[in-house]
């Protein structure tokens, strides 16, 4: 008889426990990271009662791992697609791009060839020159502010990742201490998994929960970021070429080991934005050079050689931070048609100089580096002072667009007439020469006109943006697939919970009935004894 009481009581407690689990599932159906829980019943030894032998947490480590990977990829692709789309919009829009100012400038020169002495026509050329320079400035500033925002975002991401990583380390320590899975431990694990996914999303950290329940969190190359239960210190630093990079405990990490949003931003900062800046600078320099050369070759209305219309950018040199030799360089543009639309890395190794553009294409180097015989490569001319050590290098930005500006000239100062003409000459041959240079192949070895260089730039940026967007679409689809796989295992299905609720409620009611029956039996016996 007491056995009936014991069995009934064990069932009541177990089903109460089961119902509590169901209600936790229902309550957390929309909680991010929550893994569905279920109870596992077991027979009580000897007595025949029931007990909850385990709380199961429906989490699958391989599905979680795949989901984190997919989130990492998606965040990386989206960060890059976002910035590239903005750059694309910027340079392909009529209002912000170079196409319209370049066209207007060309039109004003066309008009100048027809009416070389007309003051209003000359003023239009000056106004369009100012408009072009202003557009270059504005694009350059917008790109700089994109870079600034990217750096800010990186700081935010790294700061947030540090907090998350610290929390993961401390949660894991608690989980390790508990040993068994109970409701509290399950909550900790849910929280840990949310944090790990966040770390994949922000920095592309990889994390693996081993069979024995231990956790391993690493960078993309397998280097652990939680060591002996302690999270490493994350930070940002500059590499040799001045690129912003992740640091762990103060050590620089190569950008390829960083994924997620930070990885995407780094790629944008290291290659996409500099590429846009260099394209912009090269076009500005080409326009400036063309006008200034034409000005110098011609005669203005006062009978003098023309003054420089544009202030052209000059190459900017950045020494590798790890240079050990005493070499210093000064660079100048020697041949604009050979200039690559990217920055150039000049490095000294094995006693010789070598140069590569941003895509890693080798640029042949000639010359010895003296003033009489400068190093020549990629349209640049470089003079050296001091001796370089092996491994030393320099990054040369051929035409920083931010330096591009327009001089304020009077309308009379435009040199439309041929050199040596008299004052007030109605000659237009220098304006015709300018028109021809503007239209002619000036860049890429004499194959590309300035306007076409812009068209190519817009089109290539559009291509990169389109392919980044399609990568992001693919990554989103893959992510949705991976998240579905994860949620199929650990998500909550309310119908299922409702069914469980009914099932356990009925069982609970039945167990209560067992107790009531036992009570009745007990009463019957008592009544029989009293007689």
């Amino acid at each position: 008889m007491t056995q009936l009481f014991d069995i009934g009581r064990s069932a009541l407690t177990s089903y109460q426990n089961a119902l509590a689990t169901v209600s936790r599932n229902v309550a957390n159906a929309n909680t991010p990271g929550y893994a569905r829980q279920s109870v596992q019943f077991g027979e009580l030894a000897g007595g025949g009662g029931v007990s909850v032998v385990a709380l199961n947490r429906s989490a699958d480590n391989s599905a979680l791992f795949a989901a984190r990977d997919a989130v990492d990829e998606r965040a990386f692709a989206e960060a890059r697609a976002g910035t590239l789309s903005r750059i694309d919009t910027l340079i392909s829009d009529d209002a912000t791009g170079l196409a319209e100012p370049l066209r207007r400038l060309a039109e004003s020169v066309d008009a100048l060839t027809a009416q070389p002495t007309d003051i209003a026509t000359r003023q239009t050329v000056l106004a369009q020159a100012e408009g072009f320079a202003a557009q270059v400035q504005s694009l350059s500033q917008t790109l700089a502010s994109e870079a600034g925002q990217g750096a800010q975002q990186l700081m935010g991401l790294v700061g947030q990742a540090q907090d998350q990583l610290d929390e993961v380390a401390s949660i894991q320590a608690q989980i390790d201490k508990v040993g068994v899975v109970d409701a509290a431990a399950a909550t900790l694990m849910d929280r840990r998994d949310v944090l790990l996914e966040g770390l994949s999303e922000s920095l592309g950290l990889k994390s693996q929960i081993n069979g024995d329940g231990t956790l391993r969190v690493t960078l993309g190359n397998g280097q652990p970021v939680i060591e002996a239960g302690q999270a490493v210190r994350l930070g940002l630093g500059s590499d040799e070429q001045g690129n912003i990079q992740l640091t762990t405990n103060g050590n620089l990490q190569p950008s390829r080991v960083v994924g997620g949003e930070a990885g995407g931003i780094m790629q944008v900062l290291h290659s996409d934005i500099p590429a846009a800046q260099d394209q912009l600078g090269r076009i500005a320099l080409a326009v400036g050079e063309t006008f200034n050369q034409a000005q110098a070759a011609g005669t203005d209305l006062s009978g003098n050689p023309g003054a420089e219309l544009f202030v052209n950018p000059s190459p900017q040199v950045r020494d590798f931070s790890g240079n050990t030799g005493a070499a210093a360089i000064s660079a100048a543009v020697a041949d604009i048609s050979a200039l690559p639309a990217s920055r150039v890395t000049l490095s000294f190794d094995g006693g010789g100089w070598s140069a590569t553009d941003a895509r890693g294409v080798n640029l042949p180097v000639t010359g010895s580096g003296t003033a009489a015989d400068p190093l020549l490569f990629g349209g640049l001319s470089v003079e050296l002072t001091g001796a370089a050590a092996n491994g030393d290098g320099f990054v040369i930005q051929p035409a920083p667009a931010s330096q591009f500006a327009v001089n304020s000239l009077s309308a009379e100062s435009l040199a439309a007439a041929a050199g040596g003409s008299t004052a007030n000459s109605g000659d237009n041959s220098n304006a015709l020469a300018l028109q021809a240079s503007l239209r002619g192949g000036l860049l890429d070895g004499g194959n590309t006109s300035i306007q076409n260089a812009n068209v190519n730039w817009v089109s290539a940026t559009g291509q990169s943006a389109a392919s980044a967007i399609s990568s992001a679409d693919v990554a989103r689809a893959a992510e949705s697939f991976a998240l579905d796989r994860r949620d199929a295992i650990q998500g909550v299905n309310l119908d299922e919970e409702a069914a469980d609720l009914m099932r356990f409620q009925q069982a609970y009611a039945a167990a209560a009935q067992v107790l009531a029956t036992a009570g009745n039996m007990f009463d019957s016996i008592l009544a029989a004894v009293r007689g």
Partner: protein
């Protein structure tokens, strides 16, 4: 596969967002009239659009140049017409001064008229254009004739007119080359001075036979020279006419190129309204369906049956 609530929610949301994106794109295409807004939506098309727009701008400049060439040539043509009339009058004076019965008073009158015509020739030569620059004289900033009656001289800086581009690889002069027309056959005496010299010949009244003979020969020679001057003027005038003819031909060709470029631009850029309207209707219908399904799924729960 076990379907959980978060999966349903996520996939329904993604479906609605995708439909909304499609709807937004179609709406944008319809409201702006262009197929794509930025290069990323169609990189190759965007490059084509930019090239076509650049070509159209160049064509626009060339059409403006044609207008300029036309206005300069027709003004020059009309002024050279005046010059022809003036020289014709001068020729008449020469012929009348050859009459045997002419008296001294008449000679003086004819000579006076001839000097007036010399003034007229200089005035025609010194015509200014609408922009205030000398119409004749090419790139020189100076008026062709200077000095005034009795001391005419021709600007040494006179040149051919400037050439302006009117089609790819084709230029036309913005004006007429009058350097030959404004001088006599020797190339050293300007037209106004030549007429004044003739006036002096007309005014001569020799009394002896030798003098009379000399005057007649001189007037004969002047008449020959006058015909040559008329010939050179008419040649300059017809060169203006040729320029005007060329303007018409090139303008037609440019219009054809422009039409082509515009068609290319339309093909690359302009939205196909029928297509976009269909797309909008499609996307809207799909969005409605997605919303209805979402609502239906959200309503369905076993909990509703638990009483």
């Amino acid at each position: 596969m076990r379907i959980t609530n978060s999966m349903t929610y996520r996939s329904m949301l993604a479906a609605m967002q995708q439909r909304q994106q499609g709807q937004f794109e179609a709406q944008q295409a319809l409201s702006t009239g262009v197929k794509f807004q930025h290069a990323k939506d169609n990189p190759i098309g965007a490059a084509g659009v930019l090239r076509a727009e650049n070509l159209l701008a160049t064509l626009e400049s060339r059409q403006k140049n044609l207008d300029l060439v036309e206005s300069k040539a027709s003004y020059a043509e009309s002024r050279l017409g005046n010059l022809t009339d003036t020289l014709q009058s001068a020729r008449d004076l020469l012929v009348r001064s050859q009459t045997v019965a002419i008296n001294t008073e008449d000679r003086d009158l004819l000579a006076e008229q001839m000097r007036g015509l010399a003034q007229d020739v200089a005035a025609i030569g010194n015509t200014r254009d609408a922009d205030g620059r000398p119409l004749f004289g090419g790139t020189s900033p100076n008026l062709p004739f200077s000095g005034g009656a009795g001391a005419w001289s021709l600007d040494a800086g006179m040149s051919a007119p400037i050439q302006v581009e009117v089609a790819s690889g084709r230029s036309l002069p913005a004006g007429v080359d009058v350097r030959a027309a404004f001088r006599d056959s020797s190339g050293t005496v300007d037209l106004a001075t030549a007429l004044e010299n003739m006036a002096a010949e007309i005014a001569l009244s020799p009394t002896d036979d030798a003098g009379k003979l000399a005057r007649r020969d001189a007037l004969d020679a002047s008449l020959t020279e006058m015909d040559a001057m008329l010939e050179r003027t008419s040649r300059a005038r017809s060169s203006a006419g040729l320029t005007l003819e060329a303007v018409d031909v090139i303008r037609d060709t440019n219009e054809a190129v422009k039409l082509n470029a515009n068609e290319e631009l339309t093909r690359l850029r302009d939205a196909d309204v029928a297509e976009e309207v269909t797309k909008l209707a499609n996307e809207s219908a799909s969005l409605d369906a997605a919303r209805a399904v979402f609502q239906k799924l959200q309503q369905q729960s076993l909990f509703d049956y638990l009483r």
